[in-house]
């Protein structure tokens, strides 16, 4: 290693920064410790806040469209359904207020399922379900993340939503005016993120399309209440270029996923997971070539050759030039936005994708550490087994196996 590389590595160390919320929590605890007041209550980190809100906004408008259509009321709902289904796009300006602080963003949803979400600073994300591509552009950092083979976990196709939506209850309220315009007002109920939500809807009686939505909701049981007001405009002229998933020039690009599914058909082999050893024939310490000799070529090699992604089999392997295989991650579709196949292997104790936290604890005892955040549980057995488990809604979605020193 030459001096410039060493300095680059020191630079990378100086780039490590804790979350602002973690710093705030540490300072609070330190103040409390100094005041002999005992540990301060731990405030929960709000993960992916903006994304949840964007999805909440997108979902809410789609949900109300569905709820509106099927609900019994005085207006001709069949006509409304026809109108909505004939629209080509809806542009949503959403203002969300949490703990007295407001943020605004714009979301454009096309009838063919394409979605563009824009943050206040101009950063944006585009999802194109047809091409299975997603592009997230961060203006501030001049970075772009392109995902090929994007797995769309959120429903964004208006017509699919309408078909899938359950029969929601809609209640009529007295008429109101928005910006001097008479509107019909309704309250609709629907489920989002497993929670019952309530929407207030203002509808233009002439166009029979929703003009505004307001909802107070939670993205999780432990999260603070949020209030979102969404102004809707259907069929506003939309520049097709806004839905381009080509990364802008001059941005540092990171890409995930693969262009096309692997051409080589893989024989379904269920690999046994062996803590401290590896999975199936792949053992810690093997070289990249030895891995390929044993299980074939990966779908993608990344990280300057250090990461071998077998996306079509549900695992990835980290290989170091001199130390060989040092870590393996096994996963399922629920863990990623990139299309992957669920890992089919299990440990000899029967732990595999879909296992519960109770199953894991029964097999391996109490973890070295555990963390719960909303529906996500992380069980850490690094010291005991060199393994870490991530569960969503008490189902194992991903786990890693590392060499134990």
């Amino acid at each position: 290693m030459d001096e410039s590389e060493l300095l680059q590595r020191l630079q990378r160390l100086s780039d490590v920064n804790p979350d602002a919320a973690a710093t705030e929590r540490a300072l609070d605890k330190t103040r409390a410790a100094l005041a002999n007041a005992g540990p301060a209550p731990r405030s929960r980190q709000r993960r992916m806040w903006a994304h949840y809100l964007a999805y909440a906004a997108a979902l809410s408008v789609l949900a109300i469209i569905g709820g509106w259509i099927v609900a019994p009321a005085r207006l001709a709902f069949a006509d409304v359904k026809d109108k909505v289904e004939k629209t080509r796009s809806v542009t949503i300006k959403a203002t969300t207020t949490v703990d007295g602080k407001s943020t605004s963003e714009r979301t454009i949803i096309m009838a063919d399922g394409r979605v563009r979400m824009e943050d206040a600073d101009g950063s944006y994300s585009v999802i194109d379900p047809k091409t299975e591509r997603s592009l997230a552009v961060n203006l501030k950092n001049k970075t772009a993340l392109l995902i090929r083979g994007y797995y769309n976990r959120m429903p964004t196709n208006i017509y699919q939503i309408i078909r899938d939506i359950r029969k929601d209850e809609v209640r009529k309220l007295p008429a109101e005016k928005i910006d001097g315009k008479a509107t019909e007002v309704f309250i609709a109920k629907f489920k989002m993120a497993e929670l019952e939500q309530e929407l207030k809807v203002w509808v233009d009686p002439k166009s029979e399309l929703p003009l505004r939505l307001e909802m107070t909701y939670k993205v999780g049981l432990k999260q603070p209440e949020q209030r979102a007001v969404m102004d809707l405009v259907f069929d506003q002229p939309v520049d097709e270029k806004l839905f381009s998933t080509e990364p802008p020039e001059g941005y540092k690009l990171r890409d995930e996923g693969v262009k096309e599914p692997p051409t080589e058909e893989v024989k379904p082999v269920v690999l046994q997971v062996l803590p401290k050893e590896g999975i199936g024939p792949i053992k810690f310490g093997m070289t990249q070539q030895e891995v390929i000799d044993k299980i074939g070529k990966p779908d993608k090699i990344d990280q300057r050759g250090g990461a071998m992604d077998y996306l079509s089999r549900g695992y990835s392997i980290m290989v170091r030039p001199k130390r060989g295989v040092v870590a393996i991650i096994c996963y399922s579709q629920a863990a990623f936005a990139v299309k992957v196949k669920d890992f089919a292997g299990k440990t000899k104790d029967g732990i595999g994708i879909g296992s519960s936290a109770a199953d894991i604890k029964k097999a391996y005892g109490e973890p070295d550490a555990a963390e719960t955040e909303e529906a996500t549980i992380r069980l850490n057995y690094s010291k005991k087994l060199g393994m870490e488990f991530t569960l969503f809604s008490d189902k194992l979605v991903q786990f890693s196996i590392s060499q134990v020193p």
Binding site: L6, L7, V16, P18, E256, D302, V326, I329, A369, Y381
Partner: protein, 170 residues
């Protein structure tokens, strides 16, 4: 100003910097949080801090020592990540693992340096202070700091190039 007032002033004005430094030296969110509390409780009982002309510089030096004591004592509870951003894909996760491995080895190599040399490198490269500022904090000349840093870099290179502690290119 009594010691507690002085501590609270340092915490309010430089707490985020100290927490960031501890996070860089431990690579652990839980450890950085605990060590920040330990640091201020130690400073409260420290006669050196009470007498120090440069309270912030004293706190920074104490934080570096505390973090490397923690590393040496291997008080390594299992990792709680510094951030909880979800991964876009497996390569993203592996990249995080690779980066972490690389940073851990760098910190392990730093831990083996003599105290003064290590402190000099931490202030110069992790805190990104100018040589003159490091010199002021350590009571040395800028020339001495540059020389100490150059020796430190050479030692780090030597340590990291040893075959049994390879840092891969990934």
């Amino acid at each position: 100003m009594d010691t507690t007032e002085r501590l609270l002033k340092v915490l309010d004005e430089h707490g985020p910097r100290l927490h960031r430094l501890l996070a860089r030296l431990t690579l652990r969110a839980d450890a950085a949080e605990d060590l920040l509390q330990d640091l201020f409780l130690k400073l409260r009982d420290s006669t050196g801090f009470a007498r120090a002309d440069d309270a912030v510089g004293f706190a920074v030096r104490a934080a570096v020592n505390l973090a490397f004591d923690w590393r040496r004592a291997k008080l390594r509870r299992p990792e709680l990540p510094l951030t909880s951003d979800p991964a876009a894909g497996p390569s993203d996760l592996l990249a995080r693992l690779a980066k972490r491995d690389e940073l851990e080895q760098m910190l392990a190599a730093l831990a083996e340096l003599p105290d003064g040399m290590r402190l000099c490198l931490v202030l110069r490269y992790l805190e990104q202070l100018e040589a003159e500022d490091v010199a002021r904090q350590l009571g040395k000349t800028a020339h001495q700091v540059r020389a100490l840093c150059a020796k430190g870099i050479a030692k780090l290179r030597q340590q990291l190039n040893e075959p049994d502690r390879e840092v891969a290119n990934g």
